[in-house]
Symmetry: C2
Subunit: 212 residues, 2 copies
Amino acid sequence: MIDTKEKILDVAEELFSELGFSATSLRAITQKAEVNLASVNYHFGGKEALIAQVLSRKAEPLNKLRLDHLGILQAKGQPSLEELLTAFIAPALQMVKSKSGERYIKLLARVAIEPIGDVAKNLPGQYTEVLDQFVPAIIEHVPTLPAEELYWRIHFMLGNLGYCMAGQDAMLLNSENRLCDPNDIDGMIHRLVAFVAAGMRAEVPEQYRKAS
Amino acid sequence: MIDTKEKILDVAEELFSELGFSATSLRAITQKAEVNLASVNYHFGGKEALIAQVLSRKAEPLNKLRLDHLGILQAKGQPSLEELLTAFIAPALQMVKSKSGERYIKLLARVAIEPIGDVAKNLPGQYTEVLDQFVPAIIEHVPTLPAEELYWRIHFMLGNLGYCMAGQDAMLLNSENRLCDPNDIDGMIHRLVAFVAAGMRAEVPEQYRKAS
DNA sequence: GTCTATAACTAGATAGAC
DNA sequence: GTCTATCTAGTTATAGAC
């Protein structure tokens, strides 16, 4: 069947996100997907490669959304820092509205907690293309920022994003009386962009103000 | 024995962080701790309450460090925003240098991924006292910030902190060629404080600039 | 009781027929 | 591309020697 690969990926994504990687056997996946056991190896090369594909299949449309958004901005002239950050942040936060997006963030968390082979080590590679496009555009707005400082701040932004994507599942967000609604995705995007933009523009602490 | 409770907590912390909550049986815990199976129920009331205690036992010294730090600052006059944020951020990041601190952050991640009863719901309560002390002190530096906006930014800061605490286990941080060293805890603290302080002081986006 | 050998089972990977 | 059969490794359980 032509979509055997897709069926395997769908079931694998579901079981991996629910049970974890080591608790999910290839036999369980192939049985539920109603395909042959050997087809995993034929199509993917092994369990670890399957995991990597499950993850990259989700990363790809996200990458595309971000790059498309960036392309549209740049076609209109030089985008503002806020516009750049929105192009990076909004697709990720909008993604987690869907069931499938929720699974993706759960899978990322599992990779961090239950490291399988080189999967975690290879994850950042799925985002390098996007970062390589965004980082130079961001630099234009903070030209005096040392490169090391810039990458720290990129990481801080990724931290913000991860926490917000985890949303209601995150432990500290579902607090009462804290006056902000984690379901207000658009509000979250606007506010996060403002917060990160200010952080990006922050003055560099003296001791780190060497040339880059 | 007088420290049966402590022994149970130690072993439970270790097994929960390594195996997860549902994969760790009370039998496994009591056997490894060399205590009677029934003692868990006697001392804690049940598995869920044990989990809650394992978590709160870690939160308490962190809370104390933060509040002590804050007290010292306030005794010297009005602290700067950067000093306040350092008092909040530094204890958490320094904690994860230890094996036990690593376990704690792993447990927090597990609570998010594998929700057990009301444990996740009750976690924020372990930090309310600290936040109730810090938030008013922070407000003095951003007096025009609407309350809702302030809490969003507090959450953004918590996101930064969580990501940095996860450190090398986090998926996106162990990237090559990104020029920043996640083991440089002091550098991380200084830079994160500068980043968050700027975010706190950011101008409020127009649409959210209603009175608080 | 403790230790070791082995059996039974499970899982990932592969070869070769179709 | 799909399938059956098989190989290899790792884990768990158990039997029997000491």
